[in-house]
């Protein structure tokens, strides 16, 4: 409930500011809403959003898969960590824009380059979180699993993954928001479709209504994914914790 009120207050403030400014550089919520509806009806908005969403999902999946594997290896083995840490520092401090430019120049202005560039930007963050998570894995439970001769599979599934679950949830949450922000940049620079591309062309026309309508639609979509997918998964992963009475 408080969430709804504060959201309503934000929209009200926006409406008042727009009415006071009375400029085409700050359209009101009503104008933006009308544009959103019109673009949904014409199919333009769903098409551009699905292009972007497909890129978000592919690069997210690639970054998570590689990041979990690398982070786990670095958390488990000190030797791996010592060798790979320098690379990780380089990767963390590489500006997103530089990775994107490299990818487009070396791979070409295509889908592969776009998705890889985003994945590489997200990767170090996943590695750092998963390495932390792996280091926190309880050695006593590990020993228990060894003593009872757990198979490799059931050790991963029943001993390791439940301990990594909070870290997986944290890195996928922060990951999703990082990835979609960078996807827009990638689209702005070198793709002929997607929300980033639309925002770029709207910018050159100073079309604020359009920019706001696409930005808001995308934020709403991400909120829906977060509350319908990420949060229920997280709740499921921690259901064994004793609930406060």
């Amino acid at each position: 409930m408080p969430r709804l009120f504060s959201l309503a207050a934000l929209i009200a403030a926006w409406a008042i500011a727009a009415a006071l400014a009375d400029s085409r550089l700050l359209p009101g919520p009503l104008a933006v809403g009308v544009t959103i509806l019109a673009d949904i009806r014409s199919g333009e908005l769903p098409f551009q959003m699905s292009c972007t969403l497909a890129r978000v999902i592919s690069s997210f999946v690639i970054a998570m898969a590689l990041g979990i594997a690398a982070g786990y290896a670095m958390g488990r083995s000190r030797a791996v960590d010592r060798y790979a840490d320098a690379w990780l520092v380089v990767l963390i401090n590489m500006p997103a824009l530089v990775t994107i430019i490299f990818a487009y120049i070396w791979i070409g202005l295509n889908e592969t380059a776009a998705i890889l560039a985003v994945a590489v930007n997200k990767l170090p963050n996943v590695i750092v979180v998963m390495r932390e998570g792996t280091r926190a894995v309880d050695p006593e439970l590990d020993e228990m699993a060894t003593a009872f001769k757990f198979t490799w599979f059931s050790r991963i599934r029943h001993v390791v993954i439940p301990q990594l679950a909070p870290y997986l949830a944290a890195s996928s949450r922060s990951g999703l928001s990082i990835v979609w922000k960078i996807v827009l940049v990638v689209e702005l620079i070198g793709r002929p479709n997607g929300v980033g591309f639309v925002l770029g062309s709207a910018f050159s026309l100073f079309d604020m209504t359009r920019i706001l309508s696409y930005a808001i639609s995308f934020i709403v979509l991400m909120l829906v994914i977060e509350s319908l997918l990420v949060q229920p998964l997280e709740r499921r992963a921690i259901r064994w914790r004793r609930r406060p009475a």
Binding site: L141, F148, K149, H158, W240
Partner: protein, 247 residues
């Protein structure tokens, strides 16, 4: 449960630790065990008794095969299927009691009937609960159930009854006697409580301070588990006198 396994033809537990050293935090080696020689007949219940911090847990971890960094030799009884009860229950908090028990079992036993075991340990009403919802006594019972569910050839227990109140500990001891008697599993039990050891064991091993070795051994006449308080006290006094002369 484990009736098929006869105690007669199984090999004994043989553990020889010539030396076991740890590196302390500042890098100097600390010798924990030296010249320890332990032999326990198949199907019998041995107790390792020693002062706190004398390296009992180290010996147990070596016997369990969890620590292979020592000089010496280890021969485990039977096929070497190990059941172990750690000092802390070490249950997976995100799995129910029943899942915790079944996860430890070999795939071929996955569908085995646990009713009897669970009945003996009084866990029937708690199988669907998570370990975080259990008292320490119940969590220890679940850990004991897990160790027996794997139908071990070889059972190790590391002070499984510490920090329980005496009533609970004594019930659990009776349950342990019942289970080890019917399964005839070769058992090594670590404790610092002499009375407990005398009540439970066939064979006592007394350990010295670091570096640990065995300073005295004694076989106790059967039957285990039913020794009266007076008998336990008498044996206890006798053993204390014997051990005192050797340290």
């Amino acid at each position: 449960m484990n009736d098929a396994q006869s105690a007669g033809d199984a090999a004994p537990l043989e553990l020889r630790i010539d030396a076991k050293t740890f590196l302390s935090a500042d890098g100097t080696p600390v010798e924990v065990v030296r010249g320890l020689n332990l032999r326990l007949a198949a199907g019998s219940f041995g107790a390792l008794i020693g002062p706190s911090g004398c390296g009992k847990t180290t010996i147990l971890r070596i016997a369990a095969g969890l620590d292979t960094d020592f000089r010496g030799e280890l021969h485990v009884p039977g096929a070497g299927r190990l059941g172990i009860v750690f000092q802390e229950p070490r249950l997976l908090p995100w799995r129910t009691v029943e899942q915790n028990i079944r996860l430890a079992m070999a795939a071929r036993d996955a569908a085995a009937d646990l009713t009897e075991l669970v009945e003996i340990l009084g866990l029937g009403a708690h199988l669907a609960r998570y370990p975080g919802e259990l008292s320490l006594g119940l969590a220890r019972r679940a850990a004991i159930a897990r160790a027996f569910a794997v139908r071990p050839d070889f059972l190790l227990l590391d002070e499984p009854f510490v920090s329980l109140d005496e009533a609970v500990a004594s019930r659990l001891r009776d349950e342990l006697v019942a289970l080890t008697t019917r399964t005839k599993v070769t058992t090594l039990f670590v404790t610092h409580d002499l009375a407990e050891a005398i009540q439970l064991a066939d064979h006592l091993f007394f350990l010295s301070d670091r570096p640990t070795r065995i300073i005295a051994e004694r076989s106790l006449p059967p039957p285990r588990g039913t020794r009266s308080r007076d008998v336990i006290a008498a044996i206890g006094n006798e053993m204390r006198a014997l051990v005192a002369g050797r340290t």
